[in-house]
Symmetry: C2
């Protein structure tokens, strides 16, 4: 109980102005005109953000280390260095035309906590590390969450480095340049991951639920599962003017009918299901030729694995049928099962949030985060803060400063308890 | 009646072997490996085909003339040169990867008729001209039917020559090279079009109807109208994982629903309607982003203008509604009204066809042909011959030689009557 009061006092004492200055400063790195940012993983601006973060860490008396994936850690060592550290953080890379908060806000919250500890000259038993993970977005090198998945032992180095960007440069080549830069800047190399006591991540919600409920924060107790598919519908090209409907194998027609059946199947489940067709193309793609082939992707999400499996089986059954004389090929290109975060950490964050706001709903994250890998490595939970209109991956992404400060204090209160234990 | 018997005798006497040799010879110009041809309008192979045709015309004692659009005419002058000529022909340019019959078969039929007249030393009152029109396909320079539309006064020279191919060359530049070649080859220049007595065109059907009915020829009494549209469905991009269905403005969802309503509207009309969506794209086109925009084209055809108008109004009404929270913009990019060919010529072709086969259905053409312009200039009709599987614009395009000979004789019988009048 005493710890909780101290934790609240610590969080109350954090300097909101310093926090917001950090947020605004990092937003200038890779800034776009008239607004938005672009910091593609391992590009010049993403590297500049790493060096900026390292400089802030040194100002605050932290050890600054990096690892084989160019993840950057600011370490404030506790009074009992034998204890595994509390790890907090997020990422600083962005989508090609993004806002300044997705990822970065979580790293800035960590920085503000380090600044608060430093300013107060506060001792704490457990080491705290603030991390900026490499390539969460996967926008330049797919797939994303490279740094965190490697750190948590979920993905191997040799499976990550071959990925190439659109210009043909490999992840490994870009990584080598970044690592040289970090070494040159005086960061210390840490060869192996250190298993943390716990991992906490603050992130913008990237969805509209908190704003709709009129609350500044939510506690994340899991991340929904994501299945990706590529669907090919094969018909036969023919002249648009001469071929009667009965003689057609129109791939667009087949895709249209199949998508209709898929929507019916998907939305027969509860309203938590997310079903998105984000890519769609026709071959040969001529106004007056019946398309021979339609290809589209599906992004399917749900917090419950059983629901995902049921829909998956339904998709398989639909793909086995002919649609408008066309054959269907359905390939599941990725299947990430839902994860549940650590109940004790979810409770700890919930209690802290309630110290700063009347309600803080416990919710499932619709988006991926680095935490999806950390939960397989150590106790993990997340805190969401409201973003305007739920908009993200867009230069208009916006966060209310007052909301962000509430989120920071609730988050810091939980973090303080964990490093004081 | 006497003329009809003479006409039948003339057509019976045509040398099927010579006709087929012409067909095979021209198929070697621009031949692809392993099969198919490529003769893009005004390219080297298309020019070679012109010179080959001119050489065949000279062999047969014809005057060979060209005009401002590089249309090539083989003239066999009649005993009364004051009579307007019978014009027969089609085109020799092709799609990028095409068969050897689309267009060329009609020009070869004309050549076989000239050869028959020459071989029999036959006199005829009316001049007959065989034409190869420039750029029917529109594959290199859009739109197509350049030569015939200019000849019939439907399109102006200055509206045709600015079109550019993918390499940036203008129609006018390519045309100048072709004209110089024709002049150098000794062809005579004819400045102004000569209004024909009638225009007849033999063409492969490019559809499956004749083959399904098991008949070698059909008589074409019109070309259906074609309306083209570009449809844009505008929603809002957002994260595929975090945005609940109720908060989405998913452009794919909107397009799917709109297309469903359009199909219902279109197919409520008779089965002669043709509705094709040949191009479809999503923006931004990312697996895990809700699409902000869907764009697709519509190719709508029907022989009856009233039906096209009714569907057009229906489309306008649908586009005014919201679809899955998205707005719709519908632009009609082209509207070509249906045409009806000259009943007397349709009857003449029908009678001739019945001299060679039990049934020759009277039908509407689903595809465009040069005849669509000639009908606005002079009496016009067409004869179709069966092509395998209805396939065209494809290297597997195929014609049965026996069917083609039946088509040639039926066509020649009608032509003979028109030049003997």
């Amino acid at each position: 109980m005493k710890t909780q009061q101290q934790a609240k006092a610590f969080a109350d004492g954090l300097d909101g102005g310093v926090f917001w200055r950090y947020v605004e400063e990092q937003a200038r790195i890779g800034a776009l005109t008239p607004r938005g940012i672009r910091r593609l993983a391992l590009d010049a601006h993403d590297n500049e953000a790493r060096l900026w973060l390292a400089a802030r860490g040194r100002e605050l008396g932290c050890e600054v280390v990096y690892d084989d994936l160019a993840n950057v850690f600011l370490r404030r060592v506790g009074s009992d260095p034998s204890l595994p550290p509390l790890l907090i953080g997020s990422h600083m890379d962005s989508q090609p035309c993004a806002g300044a908060y997705d990822g970065a806000l979580g790293v800035m919250a960590g920085l503000a906590i380090l600044q608060g500890l430093q300013a107060a000259g506060m001792e704490h038993r457990r080491t705290v590390e603030v991390v900026a993970w490499t390539n969460e977005e996967g926008a330049r090198f797919a797939p994303g969450t490279s740094g965190s998945s490697w750190y948590a032992g979920e993905r191997a180095y040799q499976d990550i480095v071959p990925a190439r960007d659109d210009a043909g440069m490999s992840f490994g080549e870009a990584l080598a340049q970044t690592l040289a830069l970090l070494k040159q800047d005086g960061l210390a190399y840490r060869p192996a991951p250190v298993r943390p006591h716990a991992y906490l991540e603050l992130h913008i919600e990237q969805g509209p639920i908190l704003e709709r409920q009129g609350v500044p924060v939510g506690i994340v107790d899991g991340i929904q599962g994501v299945y990706w598919y590529e669907v090919t519908v094969r018909g036969k090209a023919n002249h648009a003017g001469t071929t009667p409907r009965s003689a057609r194998a129109d791939a667009l027609d087949g895709a249209h009918a199949l998508i209709g059946a898929m929507k019916e199947l998907v939305y027969a489940h509860d309203e938590q299901v997310r079903f998105t067709i984000g890519k769609f193309s026709l071959t040969p793609g001529s106004v007056n030729t019946i398309p021979s082939e339609a290809r589209f992707t599906i992004d399917l999400r749900h917090p419950d694995q059983a629901v995902l499996q049921a829909i998956d089986s339904g998709f398989e059954a639909l793909a086995a049928e002919p649609w408008s004389n066309c054959r269907v090929e359905l390939v599941r290109t990725s299947a990430v099962a839902p994860v549940r975060f650590t109940p004790e950490l979810v409770d700890c964050l919930s209690r802290s949030a309630r110290a700063y706001c009347e309600a803080a709903p416990v919710m499932v994250s619709g988006a991926f985060h680095d935490a999806i890998h950390l939960i397989r490595y150590c106790p993990t939970a997340m805190l969401f803060t409201t973003c305007r209109g739920g908009l993200s991956h867009h230069p208009d992404e916006a966060v209310d400063r007052a909301d962000a400060e509430v989120a920071l204090r609730a988050f810091a209160m939980a973090a303080y308890q964990l490093i004081s234990e």
